[in-house]
Structures are given as structure tokens and as C-alpha cells.
Amino acid sequence: MESGIFHSTYEKDMALRHTPIEKIRLALVIAFVLIFPFVADNYWLNLANTIGVVIVGAVGLNILTGFTGQISLGQGAFMAVGAYTAALLSIRWGAPMWLTIPAGAISTAIIGAIFGIPSLRLKGLYLAIATLAAQEIILWVITHWDAVTGGVDALNAQNILWFGGESHYFSEFQFYWIIMGFAALTTMVTVNIFRTRIGRAFIAIRDQDIAAEVMGIDLFKYKVLAFATSSFFVGLAGALIAHWRQIVTWERFTIETSIFYLAVIIIGGLGSVSGSIYGAIFMVLLPAILNNIGRSLKGVIPAMDVLIPFIQQAVFGLVIILFLILEPEGIAKMWKNVRDYFRLWPFSY
């Protein structure tokens, strides 16, 4: 009989997986991810790839907003930086993908760090507005710097494998492995960041920045570092979108995208890597499932297809409100509650 998990050594406290069930669960998830593409059709693969990209972007945003407590409304624009860098490198210099994707991530990290500088003096709402400015400035530059970005016209990203090669066409199935590889890498790196001094410094800043400074954490350095780390993954998501969709248009990276990602991490769970994953799955599948339900009800309720978009928007809003009221810590906490309920029964205290 258990009544909770109690760590008696530092090693146990630092462990990534505390119980044997967690190891089994991880094995099941890995098996599912490996088998899924062989049984799914292109539509589900497309959804899975969307989820994979959203996971990378949401984990990135969660580092900044969930773990370090710095709100960002510039997510869309930071993704645009990654996407445009990757696409432009592939178009102008024929750079291969294994260079353009990291380059997209690194350039976004640099831009993100620059826009993170005001965070030293700005907090909360003020920082939100500053990052909103970043969103607008970056998109403005992208749409008006014709010589470099080609202005408002869409770019055709090239999927080149080696210098001087032709653009290669990847199917959804092939891209599944690329996206899932990066999603897994992002998750592993991020989970481990929070077992290091840097990660703990981020959390300390979120919980109480003045206390953190008293403990000897250089606020400026770590805040900028949080922006850079977060933007790195956000840019990675952007670069993946560029190569996966092959058409880069600024219309994909508007403020709506920023808000979508905030919703993902709020619903999934702020300050939780697994929460970002749950949030991504939930937010991508919710409209798709509503859509499918609506279509299968079309025979029963004739006007259903006209109503679906409105229902989707209403449900989207309702879900966010319900989460904020019922479980502000998101799906990650809900999952934990369910798990604890069964595991600790009947002594769940």
C-alpha cells in the first residue's frame, strides 16, 4: 500500500522516472509512435506531423512562459524567423536540410535573445506588450524587406539533402520520422535542462525573481538565456514547418499562432514538458474530431456543416475557460490526478 511518492535520496529525487509503471508507459508510447505510421493513412499522418511540430514549438514556449514565467506573445513571429531562415538558406545557397534546420533554430535563438533584453525591466503585462511588439516588428520586417525575404510573396523552401543536390520530395510518412525525431530530441533536451543549474535558475526566477537574485542568480543573464533557449526550439518548429510544407508564407505566423501556442501550454500545463505534449495533441485533435463528429452527424442534422466552424470556435473558447476554472495546471495535472487516484487507492492523501 502506498500513500504517495516520497524521495529518501537525492538520486531518487533527480530521477526522471520514479515508478516502474512510468517505464512501462514510456515503452508503450515509444512502441505506439513507431507502429503508428505503418497503420495510419495520410490524413492521420498529416495530423500526427502537425502535432509533432506543435510539440516542438509548445515545449519551446513552455520553457519561457511555463518554467521561467516570462509571457510571450511573439511565438508566431519567432517561428517565422526559423522558417524564413531555413527557407532562404535553401533557396539562395542551396543549403542542405541538415544545415538549414539548425540554422533556423540558432538564428531564432539570437533574435529571441535580443527581444528578451527588455524582460529585465518589464514584467507581466508590460512584457506581454513588448513581445507583442516583437511579433509585429518581425512580421513587418519580413513582409517589407523585399530584397531578402521576397516581401509578402510565398517562398518555396527546397528540401536539399547535400550541397548542389536537387530538391527532394518527402512524403508525409518520411517526414513523420524527421518531425518525431526532433520532437523526441526537444523533449529529452528540455527535460534534462531542468535537472541542471540553468533550469533550476529559470524556475527560481519564475517563483520569485528577487529571491532568486538574492541567491546569486544573475537575472539578466538567465532571462536572456531563457529567451534564447525557448526561441531555439520555437525556431526549430518554424524550420520544420518550412521544410515539411515547403511553402513559407507570413500568413501562417500571425498573432493568432502566438495565441494558439499559449492556449496549448495553458491547456496542457504550464511548466510541464509532458503538459506541452498533451496540450499539443489535444489542441490539434480537438478541431479535427469536432469536424469528424460534425460530418458524421450531417445526415442527422442537415445544417451541421454550416454550424461546425461556429461550434469549433465556441468549443475552443469554452475549453480554455473550463481549464482555467477547473484545472489551471492543465491536462498534465489531470493525468496526474487520475494516475494517483488509482495508484494510491485507498490512501490517497
Partner: protein
């Protein structure tokens, strides 16, 4: 309390999964309906013109099925509102192509049509959208895109040709300012217009109309400083009407001739501008004159549904005839006893010569080297609150690679 909460969530999830499992699946035998995918903007930023266009597409298919379908086979238009979101369009496209096995696709905006053109070519899905961006007429990059209307660039050239004639007749200097939506759609004809203006000695500049602006006076003042004698608008009706209202209060409409390209040359523009549109010109590849033969069927169809074509306006007819053109390609494929594959439908569309839309547009023709179905538009003027043609068809077909 907690237990019930999980129970409800569990039940909802199971219900969802069951319903999802029920959906999907499809066969393509000779009896089943011909499936065409579609996305509409019913609620997004271009819904003012997108909603009637989408209803026109649905209306045509409904009318066609009631009248026997295509060679006896029914057509199913599988479509949904995507609110002008690129991601949403991609997802719906992927679903309709992979799960519903649609054989052709009706799109809407420039951004999403451009974003999809690579996929369209790979999936071999003939695609017609309401975007007439010249980028979609580049056959190498967009081999499966077809344009039922005159490209924005060609409309721009027609507008400039007309302005040049008009300036000569009036003895004024042609100074043109292009007001455009700040997007791929708005920017699309600007460079080609500049090339034409430079070649013909027209002073030319362009000003972006900020999204969601409630006052365009600063932009108009900029145009006044430039000495604009002609203003060409590449935007949808609502912002264009706002521009005209602001221009009228500045007293600009007397000295400057305003010209709408097709997405603001409609009834809504006249209605929203509350009289300020009087005297404005419109480049109209699709007519607003509902006495032409091509408007008879949509008018009667709507009447039978208790609605009227005058309420829906010309974009309804535009959607109606665009999907009709696509279905003509499908019909020709069936007439030739070929399978309804994307490649065959593309070849049939390319064989269309002088397809009559009953004078809604000039006859539509495609060829294997040019997917621009139309290159003619009449210049119309708002006279007494009604678009009235003042020229015969004017033509432009600028070269694309």
C-alpha cells in the same frame, strides 16, 4: 464529484472515437457521386465576399444534382469554412484528398492556394480558387492550378490602359496610386502594374492599406501629396468602401478617379460606401448584370429556395460559374470514357475552348501552356448606385514563364 467528472470525460472521448471510426471510407465505382473538395471563407477576414462565393459553389452543385448531375452521376461538394487560415485549409485539403478521395478541389484565398500549390501538383488534384494571382498561372510551379477569372496583374493592366485613355481624353496627367491589401493577394498585381506604368510613362506608386483600419485618411493624404489622378484599389469591398468614404470627406473624389479591381467591384462596395462610390470605376471580369443568360439559372434556383440573386450579388454567380467550369472538365473526361483521375481531368480542362458562361464572363479557354481561362473584362462605372458597363471587353495577357 471527481469520479463523475472523469466518467463524463471518458464517455465523451469514447463517443468521439466511435463517431470518428464511423466517418471516412469511400469507394469510387461508377454509381457513387463524384467528389469535389472545397474550402470557403464564411467567417474570416474576407467573408464579406467569400460567403456568397461559397454559397454560389454549393448552389451550383445542388442545382446540377437536381437536374440530373453530370451524365447521370451526382456531384458531392465536400467543403467547409476555413476562416482564411492557411493551416486550416491545409488540414481540410489533406482530409478531403486522402480520406474522401476527392478528384478536384475548389479553393479560395491567395495565401492558402499558394501554400497548397506544391501539394496539389504532387497529388495531381486540379484546383481552382478565387485567387487570380499571376503566381498561380506559372505553369511550371503550379501545373494543376486553373484560373477562371482574369489575373490581378491583367486586371491592373486593363485598369491602367483605361486610365491612360481617360487621361488623354480629359487632358490630365496620369498619376496612379495603387491602394492594396497588405498581403500576397493585395501585393500580387503591384509589380506588373509598375512595369506597365514605367513602359507607358505613367507616374505610379503603391500604398498598403493597414488591416482592420478604421480611418484611411493618412494614406489618402499621401496619395494627394503624390498628386494622384487615378487610384486603383486591390482589396475587398469593406475596406474599399471605407477608402471611398474617407476620400469623399477629403473632397478627393471630384479630382481623382477611383478604380476597383474585381474583389471590390461589387454591390456590397456600393452599399457600404453610402453614396461615396458614385462615379467609381470597376474592372469586372464577372458581370453584375443579372439579365444575361448565365444569371438565369442561379436566379431561379435561389428563388426556389426563397432567396434572391440581388441579395447574394455577383460573387454568388462567380462561385457558381467557377465550379461549373471545373465540372465541365470532369464532364469532358467522362464523355471521353476516361477514368476520373486528376491527370485526365487536367487534360480535359486544358482542352476547353470557348466555354460559355452565358455572358457572365467572356468565354473561358484553357490550353496546356496557359491556365488563364480568361483575359477580358469590361470597365464598369457606378451610375445611380448601379454598376454600368462603359466599355466593351478590354483585354490583357501579360507573359508569364
Amino acid at each position: 464529484m471527481k469520479k463523475q467528472y472523469f466518467l463524463i470525460i471518458g464517455l465523451v472521448l469514447i463517443l468521439a472515437l466511435v463517431l470518428v471510426a464511423c466517418g471516412g471510407g469511400g469507394s469510387s465505382d461508377k454509381e457513387s457521386p463524384i467528389k469535389i473538395g472545397a474550402v470557403y471563407d464564411m467567417t474570416g477576414p474576407t467573408a464579406d465576399v467569400g460567403a456568397p462565393y461559397g454559397r454560389g459553389e454549393q448552389g451550383y452543385v445542388d442545382w446540377l444534382n437536381a437536374n440530373g448531375g453530370v451524365n447521370g452521376r451526382k456531384v458531392e461538394l465536400i467543403g467547409q469554412d476555413y476562416a482564411y487560415k492557411v493551416d486550416q485549409a491545409e488540414q481540410l485539403y489533406s482530409q478531403y484528398v486522402n480520406q474522401d478521395k476527392v478528384v478536384a478541389f475548389m479553393g479560395w484565398g491567395t495565401g492558402d492556394t499558394e501554400a497548397l500549390r506544391g501539394k496539389i501538383a504532387k497529388d495531381k488534384i486540379p484546383f481552382m480558387s478565387a485567387s487570380y494571382s499571376i503566381n498561380l498561372a506559372k505553369i511550371k510551379e503550379a501545373p494543376y492550378n486553373f484560373l477562371a477569372g482574369v489575373t490581378y496583374s491583367d486586371q491592373m493592366v486593363i485598369a491602367l490602359q483605361w486610365a491612360l485613355q481617360d487621361a488623354k481624353a480629359k487632358g490630365v496627367e496620369p498619376k496612379v496610386v495603387v491602394f492594396h491589401h497588405d498581403s500576397p493577394f493585395g501585393q500580387s498585381p503591384v509589380p506588373d502594374g509598375k512595369a506597365f506604368a514605367d513602359a507607358n510613362g505613367i507616374a505610379y506608386t503603391d500604398i498598403a492599406m493597414p488591416k482592420g483600419a478604421t480611418d484611411l485618411t493618412p494614406q489618402l493624404t499621401q496619395a494627394q501629396d503624390f498628386g494622384a489622378t487615378y487610384v486603383i484599389i486591390q482589396n475587398v469591398s469593406s475596406p474599399a468602401a471605407l477608402l471611398l468614404k474617407n476620400a469623399k470627406s477629403l473632397g478627393m473624389t471630384d479630382k481623382t478617379q477611383f478604380i476597383c479591381l474585381n474583389w471590390c467591384a461589387d454591390e456590397l462596395f456600393i452599399k457600404l460606401s453610402e453614396g461615396a462610390a458614385e462615379g467609381a470605376m470597376g474592372i469586372m471580369p464577372f458581370t453584375s448584370d443579372f439579365s444575361v443568360p448565365g444569371a438565369k439559372d442561379p436566379a431561379e434556383y435561389l428563388k426556389s429556395k426563397g432567396k434572391s440573386l440581388d441579395d447574394e450579388g455577383l460573387h454568388y454567380v462567380q462561385g457558381w460559374w467557377t465550379v461549373a467550369t471545373m465540372i465541365q472538365g470532369i464532364k469532358l473526361t467522362m464523355d471521353a470514357n476516361k477514368d476520373l483521375t486528376g491527370e485526365n481531368i487536367k487534360a480535359s480542362l486544358e482542352s476547353i475552348k470557348n466555354f460559355s458562361t452565358g455572358d457572365v464572363t467572356a468565354p473561358i479557354s484553357f490550353s496546356p501552356t496557359d491556365h488563364r481561362g480568361n483575359d477580358k473584362a469590361k470597365v464598369h462605372q457606378v451610375q445611380g448606385g448601379v454598376w454600368t458597363p462603359i466599355t466593351d471587353y478590354m483585354q490583357s495577357r501579360i507573359p508569364v514563364e
